[in-house]
């Protein structure tokens, strides 16, 4: 139905897409996978009219079409559901659903609110969302907003007589498991009315939802196959060019942890989130914390990092009680925090690599009250080498590095600050497979050196693969603890049973 024929795109002399041939048939889900830099997002931008191909063309039902703008694309029935949501929180549900399409509900600029709300209710019913269309989107939960995103795309259905193609750009990376299940169920239901292009880094999700899969590498389509005939290993090899080690999580590198205790938590509570938590963390151990939204695990990580004040209880680091609150006290005690929202809390994109690396320990490069930038660069270069960070140099702005390399800089910052305990909050979020592997490798290396890690991750698989032990939280308490030694790892279903 929707076909790309020989699409090529160049930016500044660099060919980003080479002769792409891709087809989306009616009532199917097409999976699209590839490393960051493979060209997926450029392809998406061409499909949504943001860019136009330099060579080749697009066809809809055999007729050539030109998508000259986002509006043009939606007019043709191609809609995108964005990863970092495209909903405006300060406006209502109805307004968001029809943003940019108000001319259907207005005359000479006057907007007919009632008509808008009526139409909104119809669209909300399609995704089984029973909420007041007049509600402000800032009052909705994350999962609800993702559903509104989907409803917004679906709302084009009436306009395009059965040609609707919906692009799902990594919709699951910010969702909890329950929400992911709802999304998948919806997509399967909606296949009768629309086709989907599903972009994801998560191989098993991709295979679970798609009918056919395209693999991209270095701007080209390197393979196309029915999902039933594909396997994770084969996809991984095609994407990355090296085989998926059964060892994605470097389980063979999981060594026994040291006997001494790095952190002791006793009676830790945060009003409204969790109460009376007790656990020990050993040096060299990776402790995974699992739980659904509302279990308290997110807040626990932030309390341990000093970003949220605790209501009661104590935290002992290397035998000494952590006094006071705030990130400063935690950092001085040796705790480092790699945040989930890397771009906001992890890096300062307008500062250089070197400046970011020393940010938690500026004193190290201060001599008699003055900054020693030469020393700062030398320190940065050391870390760049040790962590294999791809950057033009220590003075490059962090803005210009890829997500994976930015994450490595954050890790370098904490290693540089001498952190002996690292709290990793979704450390591989938003990273492609190759970058993830680098991060896992680094995690294994630092634990071997005695750093203790508390990990909360995107997927249960990742947590099981990496951790020595997993605490499952539910409703603010530790429901169960699992040992997680290589060769004797628990199954996901064992954990889920205690999570809900």
């Amino acid at each position: 139905m929707l076909t790309l024929k020989n699409v090529t795109k160049r930016f500044n002399g660099v060919t980003v897409l080479k002769g792409i041939d891709l087809e989306v048939r009616k009532h199917e889900v097409v999976g699209l996978i590839g490393e960051n830099g493979a060209g997926k997002s450029t392809l998406m931008k061409i499909l949504t009219g943001v860019h136009q191909p330099d060579e080749g063309h697009l066809e809809l039902d055999g007729q050539p079409i030109v998508l000259d703008s986002p509006r043009g694309a939606t007019a043709q029935g191609i809609a995108m559901v964005y990863q970092e949501q495209s909903i405006l929180p300060n406006l209502s549900v109805a307004e968001n659903l029809f943003m940019g399409r108000e001319d259907e509900f207005s005359r000479f600029g006057w907007l007919n609110g009632k008509k808008l709300h009526r139409a909104a209710r119809v669209q909300l019913a399609k995704v089984n969302l029973d909420i007041d269309p007049g509600m402000l989107c800032s009052e909705l939960s994350f999962g609800q907003r993702q559903m509104i995103e989907l409803a917004k795309a679906l709302a084009l259905e009436e306009r395009c007589q059965g040609h609707l193609v919906i692009l799902l750009d990594e919709p699951t990376s910010v969702l909890e498991q329950r929400e992911i299940d709802t999304l998948f169920r919806l997509v399967r239901q909606l296949k009768s009315r629309a086709s989907f292009i599903f972009v994801s880094h998560r191989l098993d999700e991709l295979l679970a939802l798609s009918d056919r899969v395209y693999v991209m590498k270095d701007g080209e389509v390197v393979a196309q196959m029915a999902a039933a005939h594909a396997s994770k290993e084969r996809l991984h090899t095609l994407m990355v060019g090296r085989s998926l080690q059964a060892e994605f999580y470097r389980e063979s590198l999981q060594k026994a942890c040291f006997p001494d205790v790095a952190m002791k938590v006793r009676g830790l509570s945060l009003q409204g989130s969790f109460a009376s938590l007790d656990f020990d963390l050993r040096r060299g151990e990776i402790l995974g914390i699992a739980g659904v939204v509302g279990s308290g695990r997110e807040e626990l990580c932030r309390v341990l990092a000093g970003l949220l004040p605790r209501s009661a209880g104590e935290i002992q680091v290397h035998g000494k009680r952590l006094q006071g609150g705030g990130p400063g006290a935690a950092i001085r005690a040796g705790i480092g925090y790699i945040p989930r929202e890397r771009k906001i809390e992890g890096i300062v994109s307008m500062l250089s690599v070197a400046q970011n690396m020393t940010l938690a320990r500026v004193g190290q490069v201060t001599r008699c009250g003055l900054l020693d930038e030469g020393r700062e660069r030398t320190i940065a270069e050391e870390w760049i080498k040790r962590l294999s960070i791809k950057t033009p140099g220590p003075d490059a702005l962090l803005l210009n590095l890829s997500g994976g390399n930015q994450q490595k800089v954050v890790l370098a910052k904490w290693r540089n600050a001498g952190s002996t305990i690292l709290i990793l909050d979704h450390p591989s979020r938003g990273l492609d497979v190759g970058a993830k592997e680098d991060v896992y490798q680094l995690i294994r290396e630092i634990t071997e050196q005695g750093v203790a890690v508390i990990l909360t991750a995107d997927t249960l698989e990742e947590m099981i693969g990496l951790s020595h032990r997993i605490l499952v939280m539910r409703d603010g308490e530790v429901a169960q603890s699992f040992d997680c030694l290589p060769g004797a790892k628990p199954q996901q279903v064992d954990l889920i049973q205690h999570m809900v």
Binding site: A330, V348, S349, L370
Partner: protein, 315 residues
């Protein structure tokens, strides 16, 4: 250093300054006579010092609208206290400025009120206090007093007006403060990425309070200089200085959003603003048209000098 478009753009304010001076000098060579140049520099000094304070605040992502009120306050403090306290009057004036700035900073961080509002309000409070203290009139500084205590402002050293030297010292100290001290680094981090700076253990509130205190302290210093030049202090002495000072910072290339820019850029911006103002009289622009010309040149200068690559969205 290869001449790339990027280099051109970051140096655009300097180029604009050079071109403008050349144009005016071409029209009236008297403009670049040493005496005229020194006069220009002297006139720019007070603007530059105030603008430098505002630069630091802009760098952390805020704005300081209290500068002219603080400067006027300092002038009144000097005028009132000089006879009785001599040199201590200067210390008190500047300390009062620093205190005012610290107050703004504290209210901003404790009550989480946007800096636009809090500095505007504090500015109003200070103006009222100054009016009260001076009974809303201009206080003259006696000639003898002035010669005794203000020599360091009104006199000359090696042919250069002292104000210029004071401004030069401020330039060096502030360049140093911004580029070579942890304080400057922290300020950049807070402006360019406050959540990340906080999560990295930086005491954001303390940096903010110190920055506002610094800005007001510099505003007070500029008020002291003004008092010396005009031989008087009044609650409205520094009126009509605020917007040109902010303009100087922005034209120089410091971003409103924070994290980008610096003291050197503000120097060029201040010179640009001054050159335009003073150059207009040299070129013979009618008094009535001067505001128009100033506004137009401001717009043109910003249109060329702003590094839009660093501003993904222009608001």
């Amino acid at each position: 250093m290869p001449i790339t478009l990027d280099v051109f753009r970051t140096q655009a304010p300097l180029l604009a300054l050079v071109v403008l001076v050349a144009l005016i000098a071409g029209y009236d060579p008297g403009f670049i006579q040493p005496s005229a140049v020194l006069g220009l520099l002297a006139d720019t000094s007070t603007l530059f010092i105030m603008a430098t304070g505002i630069t630091f605040v802009l760098l952390i992502g805020g704005i300081d609208l209290s500068s002219q009120a603080v400067a006027s306050m300092a002038s009144v403090v000097i005028a009132l206290l000089l006879p009785s306290m001599g040199i201590w009057a200067f210390a008190i004036g500047i300390t009062a400025g620093i205190a005012a700035g610290a107050l703004s900073g504290l209210l901003h961080t404790w009550l989480r009120i946007p800096s636009f509002i809090v500095t505007l309000a504090i500015g109003g409070v200070i103006t009222s206090l100054t009016m009260l203290a001076s009974a809303n009139r201009t206080i003259n500084i006696d000639g003898a007093e002035r010669d005794a205590w203000f020599g360091w402002v009104t006199g000359q050293t090696a042919g250069i007006p002292n104000e210029v030297l004071v401004a030069f010292v401020v330039l060096l100290l502030c360049l140093f403060l911004h580029r070579k001290t942890p304080f400057g680094r922290y300020g950049n981090a807070v402006g360019a990425g406050e959540p990340a700076a906080w999560a990295s253990g930086i005491n954001v509130n303390r940096i903010k309070v110190m920055t506002f205190a610094l800005s007001a302290g510099l505003a007070a210093l500029s008020g002291v200089l003004m008092a010396g030049r005009l031989s008087s202090g009044s609650p409205t002495l520094a009126n009509e200085f605020l917007l040109p000072a902010i303009a100087a910072v922005l034209v120089g290339g410091t971003a409103l959003t924070g994290g980008v820019g610096g003291v050197w850029r503000t120097l060029i911006g201040a010179l640009l603003v001054s050159v335009v103002r003073i150059g207009m009289t040299f070129v013979g622009v009618s008094v009535f048209a001067q505001q128009i010309v100033f506004g137009v040149i401001l717009i043109i200068a910003v249109a060329f000098t702003l590094d839009r690559s660093k501003l993904p969205i222009v608001k």
